[in-house]
Symmetry: C2
Subunit: 256 residues, 2 copies
DNA sequence: TCATAGTTCGAACGTTCGTTCTAATCATAA
DNA sequence: TTATGATTAGAACGAACGTTCGAACTATGA
C-alpha cells in the first residue's frame, strides 16, 4: 500500500509447479510467507503488525501461529528462503563460465533477475537487514557472508587475470550498493527490464561512466533506448535546482 | 547498541561554535535531535520508542513533547536538517569547479564526508526513507529531488562534454546506491577515511573496475594501502564458499 | 461411523506504545 | 522578593502490540 507502488505490482507466487512431496502445511506456509513478504515490504518489519499479516493472508491472528513460533522467526524464514534461492541460482548460472568479466555480469544479472521477479523479497532482504536479533541473525549472516565471498572471489579473479589493482572489498560493497539500492527507485515502466539494467550497471561497474562506449555486444535494447531519449535536456545550471524534471517518474527517493 | 557498532562510535555534536542568536530552546532541541538520531540509527524509526529517546536524551517522556509535536515530526526535523546540510555544503563546494569529472568527484566526496562525520544521520536519512507519512514526506521528497537533480545535472554535463552515451537516471541511481549503501558496511578501522573511499568510488564510477589503473593524482593513501594488502589471498574456488575470510571485520551485512 | 491428527478461530493475556494532563520547578527581569 | 513565562516531570490515557489458550472445525483412514 504505502511504500512503493511499483514494487507491489507484479509479485508472483513462489512456485509454478509445486514439488510432489509438498505437504499441505508447506504449501500454506509458503503462501503466508509470500503475503508476509508483501506486508513487510510495504510497512517494514517493525511497522507491520501481526494483525496486518493476518489480514493480508486471510487467516486469523491465532491461526498464523500454527505455522511459525514468532514474528521474528517469520522474518527469518522469509530472508533465509530468499537468500538461499539467490545463491543457488547464482551457483547454477556461474557453472561453466570462465571469463571473469562475464562472471561478474552474470552475478549482476542474477541479482537483478531475482529482484525484478520478486521485488518485495529483495527489499525485505536489503532493508530489514538488521531487524533480526542475535539468535536468528547469525544464520542469515552466514548465507550473506557466503554470497559476499562469492562476489569477492569473482573480483579477485578479475584482478588476477588483468593484473589490476583496486580494493576488492570496496569494489564488492560498491557493487552491492548499486544492485541493492535499486529497491528504492526501480520502476519497471521507466527503467526497463532486468536485463537492461544488468547490462547498464555492468557497463558502469566494469568500464565506468566516463568513457566513450564501444557499441559492442548487441547493445541498446528497445526499452533502454526509449528511456535514454527522455533525458536529453539542457540539464546545466544544475546547482540551483531547476523546475520539475521528467526523468523521475514515481518517487525520487533515491538520495539521502 | 544493536545495529552497527562501528557507526555508533564517533558521532559528534552538530556544531562547534553555536550561532550567537541561538536560544536555549534551539540548543536543547538540537541536542535532543542528536540523541534521537543515534537511537533511530540503532533501532530504526519504528523500533525506537519515545521511552528510548527519553532515556537517551536524559529527559522525561513528557518533557520531550515540549520540543516537538510528535515522533514523526521529530524524524522529519532530523531528516530535514541532515539533508539541508548536505545540499548546502555541496553547493558551496561545487562553486568554481568547472570540470565535470571533478564535479562528480566533489559530489561523492561531499556525500561521504557528511557520512563519516555524521554516520547516524546519513543512516537515518537513507534507511528511514519511507517512514514519514504523506504530510511530512512531501517536503523531504522535495529536498531529495533537488539533490537528485543536482547529481543528474552533473551527469549530463559530463555526457555533453565528452560526447558520452549512457542512461543518466541509471547512472545517478547507481551512484546513489554506492554512496548510500555504505551505511551498511563502513568500518573506519578497515575502510580508511572518507577521502580514501571517495577516491576509490570515484575511480570505479568514472573509470570502472576492469581497467588498468594509471597511478595519477597522488594515489594510494596509507590506509587504503593497508586494507589492500589484506585481501591478497587465493580467492578462487569462490563458488563453493570457502572458510572464514579475514577481509570482513565487523559484519558482512553487505549483501541481499 | 467413529476416532484421530491437523488446522483454524474468538477471546483474552499482560505489556508497551505514542500522547496528554496537570502541577511542580527553573531561569530571568522587575 | 516576587511575578512571569519557559521548561520539566509523574502519572495516567486509550489503543495497539505479540502472543497464548482452549475450543471448534475439517480432512483422512479405519
Amino acid at each position: 500500500m504505502k511504500a512503493f507502488p511499483a514494487i507491489r505490482a507484479s509479485a508472483k507466487l513462489r512456485k509454478a509447479a509445486p514439488a510432489p512431496a509438498e505437504t499441505r502445511f508447506d504449501r500454506r506456509l509458503s503462501e503466508i510467507l509470500d503475503h508476509a513478504t508483501e506486508v513487510f515490504c510495504d510497512k517494514g518489519y517493525e511497522g507491520a503488525s501481526m494483525r496486518d499479516l493476518s489480514r493480508a493472508s486471510g487467516m486469523s491472528l491465532a491461526g498464523l501461529y500454527h505455522y511459525f513460533h514468532s514474528k521474528e522467526r517469520l522474518l527469518y524464514l522469509i530472508q533465509k528462503h530468499a537468500f538461499t534461492t539467490i545463491v543457488e541460482h547464482l551457483k547454477e548460472r556461474l557453472k561453466g563460465i570462465t571469463d571473469p568479466e562475464q562472471c561478474i555480469r552474470v552475478f549482476i544479472q542474477n541479482h537483478l533477475d531475482y529482484f525484478v521477479t520478486n521485488q518485495s523479497g529483495l527489499k525485505v532482504l536489503a532493508h530489514e537487514d538488521e531487524a533480526l536479533k542475535n539468535g536468528f541473525s547469525s544464520e542469515i549472516s552466514g548465507i550473506k557472508r557466503a554470497y559476499y565471498r562469492i562476489c569477492l572471489g569473482l573480483m579477485e579473479d578479475l584482478k588476477r587475470e588483468r593484473a589490476l589493482d583496486f580494493n576488492s572489498r570496496t569494489a564488492v560493497m560498491s557493487l552491492f550498493g548499486m544492485i541493492n539500492w535499486i529497491y528504492t527507485w526501480y520502476n519497471p515502466r521507466v527503467d526497463g527490464s532486468a536485463a537492461d539494467l544488468a547490462r547498464q550497471m555492468g557497463d558502469i561497474f566494469l568500464g565506468g561512466v566516463g568513457r566513450r562506449v564501444v557499441p559492442s555486444r548487441k547493445h541498446l535494447s528497445m526499452s533502454s533506448r526509449a528511456v535514454r531519449g527522455r533525458s536529453r535536456e539542457p540539464a546545466l545550471s544544475a546547482v540551483e535546482g531547476a523546475s520539475e524534471g521528467s526523468a523521475v517518474r514515481r518517487r525520487t527517493n533515491a538520495a539521502g
